[in-house]
């Protein structure tokens, strides 16, 4: 039990690094955004799991419940998810514009075109 007490953090680290890997190792801009999304979700999981209290209930007040999980991370992450989709769509819009300007969304090809002129 003691050893697995940090298991949630390890999952977060694993997800975060996988997302990070996609961002730096893949040249496709859409794929990079997917990687960023995974990175972002790992942060969500970090917050939510930090707010979990063993044996606690969802933070909706009821008469016969004594222990609740922490509502504060829920609020922060709930809004962060919606803000996240809004910012992701701005990123996607920029990808579309890059595609219109360069005819490709691969990082390498864009860099080549930039250096040749």
């Amino acid at each position: 039990m003691d050893f697995f007490g940090h298991f949630n953090y390890w999952v977060v680290v694993a997800l975060m690094m996988l997302g990070f890997y996609i961002v730096i190792a893949r040249g496709n801009l859409v794929k990079k955004l997917i990687g960023l999304n995974i990175f972002q979700t790992s942060v969500f999981i970090l917050y939510i799991s930090a707010g979990k209290v063993s044996g606690g209930a969802a933070p909706i007040l009821a008469d016969n419940i004594e222990l609740y999980s922490n509502p504060l991370p829920h609020v922060l992450i709930l809004t962060a998810i919606v803000v996240g989709i809004a910012t992701t769509s701005v990123g996607l819009a920029l990808v579309v514009r890059i595609h219109a300007a360069y005819g490709t969304v691969e990082e390498e090809e864009i860099l080549e075109q930039n250096s040749s002129c």
Partner: protein, 322 residues
Amino acid sequence: MLLVATAVALIRVRGLLASIMLTSVYGLLSASFFVTMDAVDVAFTEAAVGAGVSPLLLLLTVAIVGRKEAAPLRGRRALLPILLVTVTGALLIVGTFDMPHFGSADAPANHHVAPHYLQQSWDEIGIPNVVTSVLASYRAYDTLGEVLVIFTAGVAVILALAPPGQRGSARPARPSAEEHLGQHTILQVVSKLLIPFMLLFAFYVQFHGEYGPGGGFQAGVIFASGIILYGLLYGLPTVCRVIPPPVVEILAALGVLIYGLTGVISLLGGANYLDYSVLADDPVTAQHIGIIAIELGVGITVAAVIITIYYAFAARLLREED
């Protein structure tokens, strides 16, 4: 564990289309994870956003830019990212040993203001869902900021995707609704049955957000995904006739306006900005009024902005096809 497996699969998969499908699976999985973590409000949002709206937007983008993906790095050059990621990950893992154990009630994160919210919010605000009272009353400033970010993002998408020289909102140029009809008859019939319930459910989530999980953010996203589903199956021109883009854009601004004006009204009443206590004689009733007004503003803005973003992408797709 499943989440990690899906993320690994995401790295391996080459085609963008398959990655997007995996993103959707990933969103659904993380939503169910949030349920087990007691974060039902968050799970609601993630299910609608992660499994629904965000893969749809990715799909629209891929439809515009093409689904081919270049080969991943090979040999020497592939080593550097792997090395970097491994070292960073190992450092972070070492860092976790100082963190409080999972689920412990005495972790620092569960002290400070959180117990106050849980113990006092019933007397001060009088609604059962603590997440809603923190979101819309204690931390209403934060939420206002976030709504503004969403609104700005919507504006930015319109600006980025508008055709050169166009003024006003994005409108599809040609009425090509007939092309779409008859292509997906079964889907269209099923969705015709489903969409009214989705929209109705969105309203339930909006107005029941004080008593159960839900609220403006979730309702907005669910409403928007209903409309987007309609748009995918019946074609953009058809949705645009049902809900014209200028109306949606005005609604997005209107939501922010409702939110801001609620604050101004409490200023005029002599209280602080977004302090609802002056909205009625009884402070608890005043809190109720304030929260309903704010959640309404949030819901309208979120739904309108996401529909606007969808319109912008879909209209762009139509133009690219021409």
